[in-house]
């Protein structure tokens, strides 16, 4: 009689131990099967043996589903993963899939992988060949930049990080100068350091730049230039002057309506046709112009959102103080509007970073492009998986950090209002 009773507080003493042991048994079955390739239910018909963990797991979860049991941990467990039969099924599925996928992943990434050595022949295991990443690491970071000159890229980025780091700790008044330095002086100083050609530094042409450092260089410059252009376009779109308004709308919608890849194609093959014969603009600069204009259109739409969100009273108050158009926008409107859309700006910048690998279409090779080059090297064929997993991890870390930062910013700003 007691056995078929619905699980309740009265029979908690018998049901919970039975249920918990059934659940652990089902996990154990899958675990042993996944890690040691043993099947201790093999004596059963194959289909029953396959579904057995699911069945005993479900029965176990049913037995421990006791409402208001009075045991805190049991209540929390039931509420979160075991609120009804369907939920219990989903829970079991998820856990089984996770347990099942751990051993092959572990094997490929670590246990069967090769770390030591200098050539493909050193990769004897079934897992990943991390030797590939190790040997090519310099190329992945710096592209075809000469080994002896790589300290210049390192120095440029070290200065950048140092200045940004220090600017967090100095007073407000000094901070202004730091930001001015970062925006107006450093980019050109940095580019001079990397490209060389004067001060006794050897000239390195931009075709040799590449790898992850090129991703950073392009992102940094595009961010720097697309922001002011975007703000001007947004103001233009909100302008009361029809010619300016419609030119801005046309410009924004043109860039937003086409994929970046066609814009890059345009910069590579169509743009040279528009310049006087014999004029040569460096490929990197053309790409930079293309990406900047493209992202500026997106930036403009984000900024416009902020401008539209400001109450009319702000404009009227500024005008009643006798401010002109530019003073009103620079001192009253933009500071408030930009603050409103900081998360949107951060998202646009994130999209920009994710778009940089596309520059491979014009022959510039940042991280993804360098991996494409390395995997077609006759000595390293068949390393696509390692290469793209590595690149994916690197980009993921960068983009995840950026998106977390922007989410935090969003939270912080929304509580302030």
């Amino acid at each position: 009689m007691n056995l078929i009773a619905k699980p309740s507080k009265d029979n908690i003493k018998t049901y919970v131990p039975i249920g918990l042991s059934l659940v652990s048994l089902s996990f154990l079955d899958v675990f042993v099967n996944a890690f040691f390739n043993l099947n201790f239910t093999g004596f059963l018909p194959s289909q029953l043996s396959y579904f057995l963990p699911l069945i005993i797991g479900l029965i176990g979860f049913y037995l421990i589903r006791i409402e208001f049991s009075g045991v805190r941990s049991l209540d929390i467990l039931n509420k979160n993963i075991n609120s009804n039969n369907f939920n219990a099924l989903l829970t079991l599925f998820t856990i089984f899939i996770i347990i099942k996928s751990i051993p092959p992943m572990l094997d490929w990434f670590i246990l069967e992988a090769n770390f030591a050595g200098n050539s493909k022949d050193d990769c004897t295991g079934d897992g990943a060949c991390w030797v590939f990443i190790k040997v090519w690491f310099n190329r992945f970071m710096y592209g075809l930049y000469p080994d002896a000159e790589q300290w210049r890229i390192n120095t440029a980025f070290l200065i950048l990080f140092a200045v940004v780091g220090v600017s967090f700790f100095v007073t407000e008044k000094l901070k202004k100068y730091f930001i001015l330095f970062l925006v107006f002086v450093f980019p050109f100083l940095g580019i001079k350091l990397i490209s060389g050609g004067s001060f006794g530094l050897e000239y390195v042409e931009s075709a040799a730049w590449g790898g992850l450092s090129l991703t950073f260089i392009i992102s940094a410059f595009a961010i720097l230039f697309c922001f002011p252009i975007g703000v001007i376009l947004a103001l233009g779109r909100r302008s009361s002057l029809p010619a300016i308004k419609y030119i801005s709308i046309g410009f924004i919608e043109l860039w937003r309506g086409v994929p970046l890849i066609t814009v890059l194609f345009m910069s590579a093959v169509m743009f040279p046709m528009f310049l006087p014969d014999g004029t040569f603009i460096d490929k990197l600069i053309r790409v930079l112009i293309a990406i900047t204009l493209f992202e500026a259109a997106y930036m403009a739409e984000v900024v416009r959102g902020g401008l539209q969100a400001l109450p009319k009273g702000q404009y009227e108050a500024a005008k009643s103080l006798g401010m002109g158009y530019w003073r009103m926008n620079a001192l009253i409107i933009l500071p408030q509007a930009l603050k409103l859309v900081i998360p949107g700006i951060a998202n646009t910048l994130l999209a920009l970073v994710k778009d940089t690998p596309l520059i491979f279409v014009v022959g510039l090779m940042e991280l993804a492009g360098m991996i494409g080059l390395a995997k077609t090297n006759p000595k390293w064929l068949g390393m696509a998986m390692e290469g793209y997993v590595f690149a994916g991890l690197v980009f993921w870390v960068i983009c995840y950090a950026m998106s977390r930062y922007s989410q935090n910013l969003e939270k912080k700003l929304s509580t302030e209002r």
Binding site: S83, I261, V389
Partner: protein
């Protein structure tokens, strides 16, 4: 004094000057570019024009939905590329929507594990550049598939191999009649639904529209099969030996790995954004709405179907439209893995052969602009239809 007068009183002139300067600047840039282009093209002995579209293309395309070979024109090649772009976009949108809705709802599940898994799905696939995902699927994952002779078989009617996915081909007789019957069924369902709505609103009568619609949808096409001579047979792919070591499949339809990789990457990447939209939409419906619905005695499913979803859709649709547009534009990354979409076929191969950079890039960009604008017009119309009709 004159300046002051000019500044304050003559507002019209004051407005005119910046506009005139902008327009003049724009015009001079355009004229400058146009003259340069003319000189450059003159030097290379080509003249501006779209006549080349009728010339013989003389290059092959690996995957085409319409009849095409090298003897067709550049115009035809453009059409092939455009159709391939549309094909991968439609497939991508279809799967992205399904995955996105499931993941979005899963993120709000009371099951902690499911919610966490969905959250990590979003965090992982959203933060890896799409092009890397395409490369991963194409160069790493799909290359690990077996050769045709030991392809993964699905009940012997469909085979997954390194050279693509071979599926049965549908062979119809009298397909037109079947298509017409489907259209007729949809029109009938439309009228049934509007009649049912009228009955409900005027007399409070409930008509089980779902069941009636489903029956109509099955019954009318079934009649064509039984009486009007429509029939459907399948042509299954069969392993064929070309040489002692080379095998392939004959018959059936081959879905090329480029298409699979591209569709997979596009839908999994875009699904993360759609999932976030769905989640935001459902969270955006006020708690009071659910409580009010519960208090008039609706059950959980009814609340979701009749109260939460209609309101959530209004929040979900506009940003999701944007994602559909993005997916369509992102499908241009096809060029990276040689899927013959419009960028690869037209802005790539055709441009290399003809050297007509200006015409070809303009046509390509205009095509994308038209695609974007038509999707956004359609979605705006749909959005207006779904919007709250305030009294």
């Amino acid at each position: 004094m004159i300046l002051k007068k000019f500044n304050i009183e003559n507002k019209k002139a004051r407005d005119l000057i910046p506009q005139a300067i902008t327009v003049l600047a724009l015009l001079s840039v355009i004229i400058y570019f146009a003259t340069n282009a003319q000189i450059n093209m003159g030097n290379r002995g080509i003249s501006f024009g779209f006549g080349f579209l009728n010339q013989e293309a003389s290059f092959d395309i690996t995957f085409s939905m319409i009849e095409y070979d090298g003897s067709h024109s550049y115009g035809r090649a453009f059409l092939v590329g455009l159709l391939n772009t549309i094909l991968v976009s439609v497939i991508g949108i279809f799967f992205a929507t399904i995955i996105g809705v499931i993941v979005g709802i899963a993120r709000l599940s009371d099951n902690y594990l499911i919610a966490k898994v969905a959250e990590w799905y979003v965090e992982i696939f959203r933060n890896i550049p799409l092009i890397l995902q395409i490369f991963f699927w194409y160069f790493a994952a799909l290359r690990a598939l077996p050769l045709p002779e030991n392809g993964i078989s699905f009940y012997d009617i469909s085979f997954l191999t390194i050279k693509g996915w071979y599926v049965p081909k549908f062979i119809w007789t009298n397909f037109n009649i079947f298509l017409l019957s489907l259209i007729a069924a949809f029109i009938a369902i439309y009228f049934i639904n509007s009649y049912a709505t009228k009955q409900r609103e005027q007399f409070g009568k409930q008509i089980p529209t779902t069941i009636i619609s489903l029956t109509t949808l099955i019954l009318i096409p079934l009649i064509t099969f039984l009486f009007l001579g429509v029939s459907l047979t399948f042509e299954y792919p069969v392993l064929k030996q070309l040489s002692p070591t080379v095998f392939t499949y004959a018959g059936g339809v081959s879905i090329i790995p480029e298409l699979i990789a591209l569709a997979l990457a596009l839908s999994m990447y875009t699904a993360t954004f759609i999932a976030e939209n769905v989640r935001a939409g459902i969270l955006g419906v006020g708690k009071g709405q659910k409580e009010a619905a519960a208090s008039i005695g609706l059950n959980k499913n009814q609340i979701l179907k009749l109260v939460v979803m209609p309101q959530a859709l209004r929040i979900i649709i506009p940003p999701t439209t944007n994602q559909y547009l993005n997916l369509t534009k992102n499908s241009s990354l096809a060029a990276a893995i040689a899927y013959p979409d419009i960028v690869l076929v037209f802005a790539g191969t055709a441009l290399m052969q003809t050297g007509r950079a200006i015409e070809i890039i303009s046509i390509t960009m205009l095509t994308y602009l038209t695609l974007s604008i038509s999707i956004s017009i359609f979605m705006n119309w749909y959005n207006k239809k779904m919007a709250i009709k305030e009294k």
